[in-house]
């Protein structure tokens, strides 16, 4: 049976998200929401790798996102635009189409390197240690950025709008949605491959029983650091996208509130469920937007909904299952390599 499921799914979502935006059928607001959904999917899926699959508890995802956001937007603004922070542009605007994805990548790398600093001491022990350290990371990031006046300090940083406009002027295309879409597909692709390979699935074994994993030759320390860096790197890329979407960032954008949102989306979707993460990111983002008319009462209504969810479905929407476990008939279109191999050997 051919596995045309994934390409088909990607094609359909491409048609739904990008083509109408390109043709101008979607208003700017709808495009903004679609981008936001994409960014939230990346954040949720990547945090699920740590909190869901690996069973550690990280509460500082927004800080890593912030590192990526600041790095990439500093880069693009510094290189491409005339701005009050750095003065004249260094490169011509025409290069923006090229520089933008590169800056995203560099933002991701920066976030991954930052997470390495956190991971090395945190993963020496298991348990609440990582939670405490990552909680502190939120504050470290915020205070650090607030005290660097060259990049705006607490007043924030802007100018990314010009970069996006420059790209649009050059070739009229919904670039932000396009790149967000690509990163979403990329994130889901690599995380799905990772957790379905023997190497990556070992992080589930670590969650289950770390000592047994270590004694069954799994290099737990290396694997935990690698998974953490992977997750935070993706958060950094998402941060870069976010910064260019909202075009104005300040240190508080990437503080505990944002970290909490990401956590909520992970738990809403279900720990260790990729499809759950995607669903919950979509549902939660749209929900927040729908509740916008409530104004301040939004912060009452949203937690209330969450409390109701936790009362009636404490494992989240999907639990630890994937969409495929709910609809087993679809399995033949989407099944992972390991499943196919197992089935092949059982039959023979």
């Amino acid at each position: 049976m051919k596995r045309f499921g994934m390409p088909a799914l990607i094609g359909i979502s491409f048609l739904i998200c990008i083509v109408p935006s390109w043709l101008g059928w979607f208003s700017n607001y709808i495009q903004f929401i679609i981008t936001l959904i994409g960014i939230n999917i990346i954040l949720t899926v990547s945090l699920n790798l740590i909190n869901g699959y690996m069973g550690e508890f990280s509460v500082g995802h927004a800080a890593f996102m912030g590192v990526g956001a600041y790095t990439s937007s500093l880069l693009t603004v510094y290189l491409l635009t005339e701005n009050p922070f750095f003065g004249k542009a260094i490169l011509p605007e025409e290069l923006s189409i090229l520089i933008f994805p590169i800056s995203l990548l560099i933002g991701g790398v920066a976030a991954a390197l930052f997470s390495l600093l956190i991971a090395i001491p945190s993963f020496r022990t298991r348990g609440d240690y990582l939670a405490i350290v990552t909680l502190a990371v939120n504050f470290i990031f915020k205070s650090a950025v607030e005290n660097i006046d060259a990049i705006g300090g607490p007043r924030g940083f802007m100018g990314m709008g010009k970069v996006v406009k420059a790209m649009d002027n050059l070739v009229s295309f919904p670039w932000l949605i396009f790149w967000t879409f690509l990163v979403v597909v990329f994130s889901i692709f690599i995380i799905r491959n990772f957790v379905n390979s023997t190497m990556g699935k070992s992080i589930v074994a670590i969650r289950d029983d770390e000592i047994a994993s270590e004694l069954m030759t799994v290099n737990t320390r290396w694997l935990k650091i690698v998974a953490f860096m992977l997750s935070c790197g993706l958060a950094g890329v998402a941060g870069g996208l976010h910064a260019h979407t909202v075009t104005f960032i300040n240190p508080s954008s990437y503080f505990i509130l944002q970290s909490t949102y990401i956590l909520v989306m992970v738990y809403l979707g279900g720990m260790g469920s990729l499809s759950g993460s995607v669903i919950s990111a979509i549902v939660f983002t749209i929900l927040l937007e729908l509740l916008r008319p409530l104004d301040v009462w939004r912060w009452v209504a949203t937690p209330l909904l969450l409390i109701i969810l936790m009362l009636f479905r404490p494992t989240g929407i999907m639990g630890s299952r994937e969409l495929l476990d709910v609809f087993p008939k679809l399995k033949k279109y989407f099944s992972s390599l390991q499943e196919r191999l197992t089935n092949a050997f059982i039959k023979s």
């Binding site: 023997t198 699935k201 270590e214 030759t217 290099n219 690698v226 390991q338 197992t342 059982i346």
Partner: protein, 255 residues
């Protein structure tokens, strides 16, 4: 040349001496038992060998590799398989995944291969699955391949765990109370299984056990541990008649 050589091994938990001057030489294809009352330090010896604890004094070498100061995963990758007193299978993962993950040190592909689904990764996964299925087949576990371990009967779980410990092609197999919680029928099966494993996979088996039926039946040599030090060593028959062992287990005779 001995396969495993433990020399003057001593270990303290804080101020408590848990293992005291423990010596052992294991040669190839031997079946050696380690017995002793509860809290004698038997499992501690295993944990010291596996690198979970760091000995205060003494040396451990395996196949001429010094084991002191290495991480547990490095030690077991050298060819030491182990099972646990309370079965420690990964209960969230199917039986086949349990075996696949134990291949961790044997997979050749790199991190990027697993992220980007390269042909090298596919080839390797195929090899891993094939080996795992072969091993499961030898243990007659193929019907349970997709089950979660916690849903399996106790005896089967034990079998899966021994099977998993053989994945890294060990020269030495450490069995920590494999018969714990088993009924007489299951113990009989286990005795046959251990003997078969030793011959089939050419491993040296080092076994901790409380069930005398197992120990006396299969071990060629037995060591008795009490309060961390060896109080007797010899063939099953010698151990059975040793007054020190009887004293450690049953207390002193009333005269």
């Amino acid at each position: 040349m001995p396969l495993l050589k433990v020399d003057k091994l001593t270990h303290y938990f804080g101020g408590l001496r848990s293992v005291d001057n423990f010596n052992l030489e294991l040669s190839e294809n031997e079946l050696v038992g380690l017995i002793g009352p509860n809290g004698a330090g038997k499992s501690t010896v295993f944990n010291l060998v596996c690198g979970l604890y760091r000995p205060t004094e003494g040396s451990i070498s395996f196949n001429d590799n010094n084991l002191i100061g290495r991480y547990p995963h490095q030690i077991t990758s050298l060819g030491i398989g182990r099972t646990f007193q309370n079965i420690r299978l990964w209960n969230e993962l199917s039986v086949i995944d349990n075996l696949r993950i134990a291949h961790f040190s044997q997979i050749d592909y790199k991190l990027l291969d697993s992220l980007f689904f390269t042909s090298r990764m596919v080839r390797d996964e195929q090899k891993v699955t094939e080996e795992a299925m072969d091993l499961l087949d030898k243990f007659n576990l193929v019907p349970y391949v997709k089950e979660l371990p916690r849903n399996l009967p106790y005896g089967i779980q034990r079998r899966v765990e021994i099977c998993r410990a053989l994945v890294m092609n060990p020269n030495l197999l450490l069995l920590d109370e494999p018969a714990a919680g088993m009924n007489q029928g299951e113990i009989g099966e286990l005795i046959n299984l251990v003997r078969w494993v030793k011959d089939e996979f050419k491993v040296t088996v080092w076994i901790i056990e409380h069930q005398m039926r197992v120990i006396m039946n299969i071990c060629e040599r037995i060591q008795v541990l009490d309060f961390g030090s060896i109080i007797a060593e010899g063939t099953p028959k010698e151990i059975r008649d040793n007054p020190l062992v009887i004293k450690a287990y049953l207390g002193e005779e009333v005269t």
